[in-house]
């Protein structure tokens, strides 16, 4: 099996790229996707540690993180579609007020 530390290192790099994306973009959907990328990087670290220690808890945490990410995407996309229908834009600069 491949050395788990390499998988963890790849997770760190993916996390950095996702963080760059959240800084870089104004489009809310792209920011949502970059957050998904960061969650996946964290999952990679969980799996690497689980493979190293032979501990199954890392897998359980990964499964929970995937389920929570699915819920987050559903809610986030609903909020963005609602915002688009009221403001005709999803730029994060326009999302500065909580009500009309």
């Amino acid at each position: 099996m491949i050395d788990p530390s390499w998988i963890a290192a790849l997770g760190v790099i993916l996390f950095g790229i996702g963080l760059l994306g959240t800084f870089y973009h104004k489009n809310a959907i792209v920011v949502l996707m970059c957050i998904e990328l960061m969650l996946n990087a964290a999952n990679l670290n969980f799996v690497a540690a689980a493979s190293h220690y032979g501990d199954v808890n890392g897998w359980v945490f990964t499964a929970i993180a995937i389920a929570i990410a699915a819920a987050e995407v559903a809610i986030g996309l609903a909020i963005l579609l609602s915002m688009y229908s009221t403001q005709q834009t999803i730029s994060l600069d326009a999302a500065s007020k909580l009500r009309n």
Binding site: V12, I13, G16, M33, N40, D55, I66, E72, V73
Partner: protein, 214 residues
Amino acid sequence: MTFDFETLIFVIVSGAALVGAIGCVFAGRVAHSLLWLMLTFFAVAALFLMASAEMLGAIQILVYLGSVMLVVQFGVMLTRRRIQDVESLPTLNFISAAAGVGLFALVLALLREIMGHSMWDSDAVGAPTTVEFANSLFNEWTIATIVLGTLLAMAMVGASYLVRDERLINLVWDLGDDTVAASPSVGMPIRRTRPTPSETVEVSSKLGKEEEEE
């Protein structure tokens, strides 16, 4: 480190993951960005397989690529074209350059911490099996699994509440126009909950006048 076949596969898969991630950040459109992200998720699923986590690889493909990314793609495509254009990327000024350098330094520091951590000194025990995963999930983490199911149900209800369309004309569309015209007192009054842009302008100008009068 011996350069065997598995290392070669790892290099290819991790390269695909990095290319997908960079493409996701720097793609010109949201739809293209999403496709690059799906490449990254496939590569991450392959990495799960390489770490002997077959169940998680299957979950990754089924949940992320099968449903979540499909939902996001539908959300992007159902809206108008304007939502797809990546709007005005920030110009490179001093603050963003400093943020980029800081981010790079953060990644390097994290890499150094992780690769040099003492946990890798001990010998690898070997990955757990899927049977252990199932036993742990449904015995040790039962409450967490139940709470997770409740959370997902609440998220689905909340999402459908957020994107609801409460116009009466859509609620009673199968009753025909006569029913609505004959009994206007039934249900909510007919009105558009989402004003057109011209109405928005009128209302906001009226509001502005009222505020001025006050």
